[in-house]
Symmetry: C2
Subunit: 473 residues, 2 copies
Amino acid sequence: MNELQKLYDRIIQRVNINLRELDFDAEPYSSGLIVPEQMSKFYAFYGITTGHPLSLRFQNSGLAGSYFLGKCQVSNSLLYKSDIRGDELKRAGDSFTFQGHKITMSKDETVDISDSALVKTLVHNYSHDPETTEVFFIRDTLAMDYANIHGAPTDGAFIGPFATVDLTTVRDCVIGTYCYIQASEISHMRIAPGTLWVHSPGNFNFYYRHDLALLRNYISVVPGDLPHGYLIDFIEEHEDAFQRLFDAVNLETMVSVPKTASLDRYAVVLPKTKIADNVLVAQRAYLSNSTLGKGANAQENCYIINSTLEGCNVTAHGAKIIEADLESGVFVGFNSFLKGKPKARIHVGKDCVVMPHTIIDSDAPLRIPEAHLVWGLIRDSDDLRENSISLEELQKQKKGFSKGRLHFEGNGKLFVLTFKIRIHHILQANGAFYDGRKYMGHAQRNQRLSLNTIQPFQFGEMEGLYPNISIEL
Amino acid sequence: MNELQKLYDRIIQRVNINLRELDFDAEPYSSGLIVPEQMSKFYAFYGITTGHPLSLRFQNSGLAGSYFLGKCQVSNSLLYKSDIRGDELKRAGDSFTFQGHKITMSKDETVDISDSALVKTLVHNYSHDPETTEVFFIRDTLAMDYANIHGAPTDGAFIGPFATVDLTTVRDCVIGTYCYIQASEISHMRIAPGTLWVHSPGNFNFYYRHDLALLRNYISVVPGDLPHGYLIDFIEEHEDAFQRLFDAVNLETMVSVPKTASLDRYAVVLPKTKIADNVLVAQRAYLSNSTLGKGANAQENCYIINSTLEGCNVTAHGAKIIEADLESGVFVGFNSFLKGKPKARIHVGKDCVVMPHTIIDSDAPLRIPEAHLVWGLIRDSDDLRENSISLEELQKQKKGFSKGRLHFEGNGKLFVLTFKIRIHHILQANGAFYDGRKYMGHAQRNQRLSLNTIQPFQFGEMEGLYPNISIEL
């Protein structure tokens, strides 16, 4: 058995030890997930920019096809086509406020991944854990395809396919397929597939659970098998276009991009796509025959096809927008799937919030009025009525309400306000408001990003693992 | 002024301080030699193999287009398209014999390049300096195009274009254009262009100087200008073919190669080339319409065009063989130029030794009888008569002789013996004698070589320099 297989076994064992009380076995999920032969096929790459401190340390790890930016260290881990984006990590001197306490950073924050296996996983944002503000740790964790670990340190976790942990410290938890969890801190929990849970203790609690019988059509996984469903099929149908990006050392870009926008070298941009000022297109985004208006963005693993985004639109990590028209200010959350059709386009009004992990899949045209919040699974106008609320109406809620499969408790106004502040922050961080002088963000800074590659051993006991590499400015 | 330019100025200043007594100014040679804009254009690459310890450390350096193998460290230096081949460095436990003393290595030898600029320079072999057996140092040195630093630690040196220092420790010396120096240890010397000097103190002394008026047609450099001459033109005519090798991540090979031979991924091999067993073709070699027989090799910067090499032929670093037929066992030394023409082919008999830095350029066919030593500039059969001697005749020389521009002193037998042992050693190291079990060498080991790339900063003050990178097993 080569070193890579031994390492993988050890990681799964560590995950299982952490999750032993939850009566959960990660092992059947792990088989076929990291394939040793695939691990030596792909190079890894890292960005160099003037905007972020450069410090990368890789030790006894496999990194196939993964991307790194900023300050990261990876040890005894296997990453497959994952993105470790350290461009929002805290910097020495920055301060972080928690319950009125202002904590000042004595050093730059680091993403520290150890004893973990991440598959097609996105790691972004910064540690929101007030106990470890300078280390965004990911330890003893197995994350499956298209998981998002967003500002969420983890220590002992299984994160199922297309699941998102957001601004939440996770200790010894199982996060089911397609769950979205934003809950500050969770430990020793086993969260059922399809759960959408946004919890701000003392303020509000938003809880929805997808109907598993329906969710299964889109994404599910059974132990011993790989994830399957329409989300997987959709991604596989489009993956050929990415091959070209990885085969050439230098690429010609296929569309012209304004000076204030940035288009990553590892994004697929197919003809008839228009990109306006202040647009950010991240690596592994896929754009085809679409228009991105001023300040719109397309994050990692997004697909925007035959659609128009009017401007200041956030397309969060893993969101897919097909045959849809989005007015300005629309937010589409993590791993949402707006599955319009040529004769059943989806129209989303101004300033709408499409909650993370929302699936819209209607056979008739669907129109979401402006300033609405939508969630869950929406297959027709009845579903839409049940799974939406105007932001105005929501703000009036003082104690809570139930609507379909949604249970909301707490202060609606605070919920809306929290969301609006966050959307504004995301747009600002991405450079959507850049005026040529002020409000510079990722879109402008990333123009000065160069992408460098590193490669694994091609043979021997270490095949598929990388040499120990450290890269510093 | 950016950091790269500052670094280059500092290197040139250090070289000049070392050479101050020799009334030499490196500055006029340096301008246009390292071009900052070119330094950010090319990636560097390094080999990973099971055969050599991997340890690379790069600090505050530019490495554009350069290649590294084995244990190397580079600091405060600029390398442009240079090859640092550490596959013959001594290993911990190896021993090195000097004047009857057996010195055992306590650690693996390292190539240590600091405060130096190397342009298209080859660094190979190991430190022959008994004072520093574990460090092959290159310090305060400027080496110009196609210089060879072969088993020759340097400390304070200017090495002109196409000059070779071989098995010689060099301290504070100027080595002129197209010089070949093999002299154990030299210091505070200024060696005139075109000097061919092989000196084994107390044993023999071989001294030839090219006629500068004639050499100038092939290679010369005047202060303030870049090197020019037919050697430079020849290389430029062939350089397009290399572009393809650097543009693609994965390449299809154009010829089939036996299992016992190895063809570097960065070698150009054009059609109708045949490669037999135990052949080694190094990076930056160029082969076209030629046959390389069993155990032949083509080192870095070699060109073999419309030629046949019968077998066990050494084509040393930078040697060019055009329209020639070489019988078995022929050795062609560093930077030699066998410039045959379709109607004036060059035939070299069995076991001949073409001395390093020999130019053969005749307008009529030329036939070198077997077991002869040839040197210098040969343009016709008269020149050949003057610039050759049979090995048998040479072995009879007890005290010395002069022949044309050659002055030989000492023991001819020892000279021939030393050369024969060395040629045998080179063939053995390269795997020419591999029998499927014993005598494995570079040709067999390099089959399991993977080549990885690293890249420079693309913008900002550090443009063209590389991040500080360390890579270890």
